[in-house]
Point group: C2
């Protein structure tokens, strides 16, 4: 007798079983793994994909979005404007006038998915990634012209890297839901006889999940929560940032199609677009039927989300990331690496360093002391060389997503703090109207705690002279505890100092990356290997993708039968 | 080069490695497993243990508690009174006048434990269970004369069953902290060359943990959170219920000794006693240094705990447990089993059934319809036969822990609802002053929603006539969703009906137990096999012991080194 029926493995599960197994093995080993190649190579993604999908992108502009299958009673045009052309995208999306409709449609769609076995869900979800892969170029153009990321970064972040993070969430969900046996024979010796019970275990999905997107990484930051909720059997409502809808609309459209093709209700994943003038996020957050909320964005709204009673929340907010300079072997390599880190996407990555702690008596380079002034000078030169390089500059900086970030740079520059390097606009070879800004570098004395303790989102870097490395570490850890941090880049050649730094930053739940010089940067977080956001400090309460990220989305229930 | 040092395995880990491995295997298989035999046999626990430890217990009464090693500046006598003798225990405990002292002592004690490896912690913690085992009889007498449980139940619940639950938490903590490799070699192909990073992973403990005990299960409900926080490297402050301190004080004393013996600070686990007149629980809960709270108790305080901003909480509150009667093969066995369930410890178990849903046209017994009236009559007889049985009665019922529970029975009996079976006091052969009460059984029509929706803690049972099983199921699930539930005992011989019941109760995250007739009851939850409290409905947000119960107590942090 079975209380919960077990269906035969779905054909798409069998089709993708090897991929899923490889992904689970990668999660377990934490070694390098990537399912989707990060270079937009024609050989991998189709020789004419770039051109064809650019044509699709161009045709989509100023037209209603094609492909979503969700129930809708209106069309909404968000606030999408290209940071490169400064023109509105003019795309409208199917929507519901009343948020209650999203809730009702999610409830109505839930049933079959809730009771589908995890393997069936996993197969369908991996297939959705394969379909999304066919649209990586369109997603890249859509990302570029909403976020201001360069084309290359748009392709990588919203394409293969996002797909890898989604696959990671699927794999983690499959792993966590299949770790325990579905049945057990329980036989308790009672002396002269045994008591026997059959036990069944199931993972019961928690309910409607809301995923709130941000304007800078509309796909990469959305898909982990979206796929984590889906693999654990929950319906999802995606509320994108009104300025970055198109990229994630493509993902949702592909999900809706694959769901429909396999007999499930496409309303399991709904896009819920709003406008800056008529926001629906709080209405959705506070709806009693919304049980889980994934959020990426600023601290004020993130703290609001975390404070909502009775909701399970997964947040990635902001923090003050630090650089600790103690000693190194290759000063040029160090400064070039850091210059790239602060220039990449003009400091608009949540992982970008902001506060540089540099001992006022300089640092040791191969045992020789290099003065504070020379390190600063070298760093300024490295930034200038990179950002003013005709080819490297524009491709690294991209454009500034919004006017607020752009204005912040000017405001901070005029705040009376010593400017070491002014921010400049650089011409973009392809887009003359691009909103660009090179990093503004300031020198801030320790006494100016107010400035040091601010998150200054955008291309703004603070050089903070310290007494010594010990003081650098104390400050970095203290600020991580108070304001949160996602990353710390540290440079030290001394193992004892490395251990000291890592241990002290761990006290504020901040991961440290040591001694990067080559073509890899502290901003980057690798799927299957790096936990993105620790979840332990105010920068966020969740982590891509630790087991907690999936197991909070279902309840383990045991049934006993005599 | 290693950033985080790895110590050699601790000798106690090596000593207990087999036990830990067996416990982890049991967790994985969910089959029967018990490390500590549940019968107070002299052969297992020492021939004269009962007498010797009874003498220790008697000598302890009216004296300061012996054995705690914690820093203290005062002595506090709680509000411990025996429900059997109605006399005060008169035991005082070392305490701190200011709660800030507990916090400071916890912080000061933390360091070495925080950075001890998980295996070291596991070995020491299992050793503590072995030492506690040597005091099972004293713990049983202390439990009996604070909670009102019979001696046998006191022995089992606070002794072997609690130790098994503690071992389960240790094993789950060890499993979850050692699942991922501590190091990984990460090598990313970049075309012409590879980028190489070494990665280290550690589990960083979250901080001071507060465990709030209850008056009915002062050990069983306290040790899972206590040991889960310890195995994950956190210091713990245990705030027992003022009426049930002595049993858990023994556990804490043994922990403090084993910690000290192994070079750790005994203040890692502190007992924080208060009195009903001068309660410190909220002060501790709201202290910014308290990061995690384990709570067992009533809904009002539990909801307060869950609402505290920025705290990670693990709650077990109350609910309305149900019985669904549809059909069975052995009516006598069924009714005797249920009579025992409602009589055991006089309905003071959080898992005890309260609302019995019985179709007004009766139930099928081996295909023959037995009328509603006959089922009710049989149930009343089964309760009377059990509770008035000279030997079985007192040992099953135990005593009523407090006057409030005792008075509730009288108040409810006089509320105008039809009494099917009045509650009586029965004489206890050993303790003439014992506060006893047999179950009060009421018949409550569906129209009386107010009564049906109340949790009536203590020996109070409601028989609720329903139209049919479908209505029984709908009510049981609805009330679980609104008020929470820990258990549902269902009787049905039809597989389709079983599936219907299990699925509908799973919607409100309530585990169902089917068709119990023998010497095993729905109230019981087995370590290593049953998840106690699902964590999905208002009866509590945590579960003994699912992975979530331990992984929320630490943060996974990765360190990367070029």
């Amino acid at each position: 007798m079975t209380v919960f029926t077990q269906t035969a493995p779905h054909e798409l599960y069998l089709h993708h079983q090897k991929t899923l197994q490889a992904a689970i093995e990668a999660l377990r080993a934490r070694e390098f793994y990537a399912q989707y190649p990060e270079i937009p190579s024609g050989k991998v993604y189709g020789e004419d994909s770039n051109e064809k999908q650019h044509a699709v992108f161009t045709a989509q502009l100023n037209h209603p979005f094609q492909g979503l299958l969700q129930t809708s009673d209106t069309q909404i045009t968000g606030a999408e404007n290209s940071p490169f052309t400064r023109e509105a995208l003019g795309v409208s999306y199917p929507a519901s006038k009343n948020i209650e409709s999203y809730i009702q449609q999610a409830h109505a769609a839930w049933g079959a998915w809730k009771y589908a076995d995890t393997e069936t869900r996993a197969g369908i979800l991996v297939e959705s990634l394969e379909r999304i892969k066919q649209r990586f170029f369109e997603i890249a153009f859509a990302t570029q012209h909403t976020t201001g990321q360069s084309f290359m970064m748009s392709f990588q972040a919203s394409g293969p890297h996002a797909n890898d993070r989604a696959l990671e969430a699927i794999a983690m969900g499959l792993e966590e839901q299949t770790r325990y046996p579905k049945q057990a024979h329980w036989e308790k010796p009672m002396g002269k006889f045994n008591v026997v019970l059959k036990k069944h275990y199931q993972c019961q999905p928690k309910g409607i999940s809301l995923t709130i997107g941000c304007s800078t990484f509309p796909v990469w930051n959305t898909v982990p929560g979206l796929y984590a909720s889906l693999i654990t059997g929950n319906p999802v409502i995606v509320k994108p940032h009104p300025a970055a809808i198109y990229p994630i609309a493509i993902v949702i459209a592909e999900l809706q199609h694959i769901l429909k093709d396999n007999g499930f209700d496409p309303n399991l994943v709904q896009l819920a677009v709003d406008t800056p003038e008529n926001q629906i996020t709080k209405l959705l957050c506070e709806h009693p039927s919304v049980k889980m909320i994934d959020f990426t964005g600023g601290n004020a709204f993130g703290n609001y989300v975390e404070s909502l009673p009775g909701k399970i929340t997964f947040t990635e907010k902001a923090g003050i990331n630090s650089v600790i300079l103690d000693s190194c072997t290759d000063l040029n390599g160090t400064l070039q690496n850091l210059a790239f880190s602060v220039s990449l996407y003009s400091g608009q990555m949540c992982t970008c360093p902001q506060n540089f702690y540099l001992p006022e008596n300089g640092i040791l380079v191969n045992g020789e002391r290099v003065s504070y002034e020379d390190v600063v000078k070298g760093f300024m030169k490295a930034i200038e060389d990179l950002t003013h390089h005709e080819k490297m500059g524009p491709g690294t900086l991209g454009a500034i997503q919004n006017e607020t970030t752009y204005q912040r740079v000017a405001t901070v520059a005029q705040s009376g703090v010593k400017v070491l390097l002014p921010s400049k606009s650089i011409p973009h070879p392809e887009f003359p109207n691009a909103r660009t800004a090179t990093p503004l570098v300031l020198e801030v004395p320790l006494a100016n705690r107010e400035m040091i303790e601010q998150e200054l989102f955008g291309p703004i870097v603070l050089i903070i002279p310290t007494k010594d490395t010990q003081q650098s570490v104390a400050l970095a850890s203290e600020l991580s505890s108070i304001h949160g941090a996602l990353t710390c880049a540290a440079y030290s050649t001394d193992p004892a100092t490395q251990a000291y730094i890592a241990r002290n930053l761990a006290e504020s739940f901040t991961p440290v990356t040591f001694n990067l010089t080559g073509p890899i940067w502290v901003n980057q977080s690798a799927g299957f290997s790096d936990f993105h956001v620790s979840g332990g400090n105010p920068a966020g309460n969740a982590s891509f993708t630790n087991p907690e990220f999936v197991i909070k989305r279902f309840v383990l229930i045991g049934t006993r039968i005599a």
